[in-house]
């Protein structure tokens, strides 16, 4: 099984990555660019899972080299599960990318990272409702302290592709 960590730059993807993989980290250069990505592994119920820390991207319509690497990586790993990491205090733009990935047919898990920061800023997020609407696991995390990481790992096995049309229906959007 392969898991891609995707999200905007500076949402804590690499911290989540380090939490998931421990010290077993390999860094490599992706051909043709200077952008690096990291690959590591972890064991989930005896099964080895490869985790790839994808460079940060704002959307899947890439506009620079780093984003192009990210998008190509997603295209290449057709069977991957994606953990969409987002900054809980910047939900809207994070969800934009998450929905784009969902539209491409990937099973998705949402990690609402920097949960403590959002709380501190007075932002309240109805995690259960968000999970209902999107039809995917939504896990609040604080990668720096490790909170939510074990829940994130166990949510991987229930991740499945979701049709964005169903999400729209649940929101009552008809146009």
């Amino acid at each position: 099984m392969k898991v891609l960590l995707m999200g905007h730059p500076n949402v804590g993807k690499s911290v989540v990555f380090n939490r998931l993989t421990g010290v077993d980290v390999v860094t490599s250069n992706y051909p043709g660019t200077t952008v690096e990505y990291s690959e590591g592994s972890m064991l989930v119920e005896g099964q080895e899972v490869t985790i790839i820390d994808v460079p940060g991207t704002f959307s899947l319509n890439f506009r620079d080299k780093a984003e192009e690497v990210a998008v190509n990586m997603l295209d290449k790993e057709k069977d991957a599960i994606v953990i969409s990491v987002l900054d809980s205090s910047k939900m809207e733009r994070g969800l934009y990318l998450a929905l784009e990935i969902m539209e491409h047919g990937y099973p998705l898990v949402l990690a609402l990272n920097m949960w403590d920061m959002a709380k501190h800023k007075g932002i309240k997020i109805d995690v259960d409702r968000l999970g209902e609407i999107l039809g995917i696991p939504v896990i609040p995390t604080m990668a720096t302290s490790g909170e939510g990481i074990s829940e994130l790992i166990s949510s991987l096995k229930v991740a499945k592709p979701v049709n964005v049309k169903d999400v729209r229906e649940r929101l009552g959007i008809t146009t």
Binding site: F58, S59, N61, S89, K90, E92, R93, Y96, L97, K121
Partner: protein, 75 residues
């Protein structure tokens, strides 16, 4: 009153009224879209980027991008 985002004054606020078609998706991925409240934080000199606040987050936009957004500024 309407203004092009790049012409807004420091600390001026308003609602985004129009974003040119070719830039709409790109800006949406940054959380910038029609109808949202925006505040000018800084305009860097010598054709530098502008920094705006949307949803409590600062986002920097290149001058060219900032020129694509029309804002109905608060009086």
């Amino acid at each position: 009153m309407e203004r092009i985002l790049s012409d807004m004054d420091y600390d001026e606020t308003g609602f985004m009224k129009e974003i040119k078609d070719d830039f709409r998706e790109r800006l949406a991925s940054m959380g910038i879209r029609k109808g949202k409240k925006i505040r000018m934080i800084t305009r860097q000199p010598i054709k530098g980027p502008v920094v705006v606040e949307v949803d409590g987050c600062s986002t920097s936009l290149g001058l060219e991008l900032a020129k694509q957004i029309i804002v109905k500024v608060d009086q």
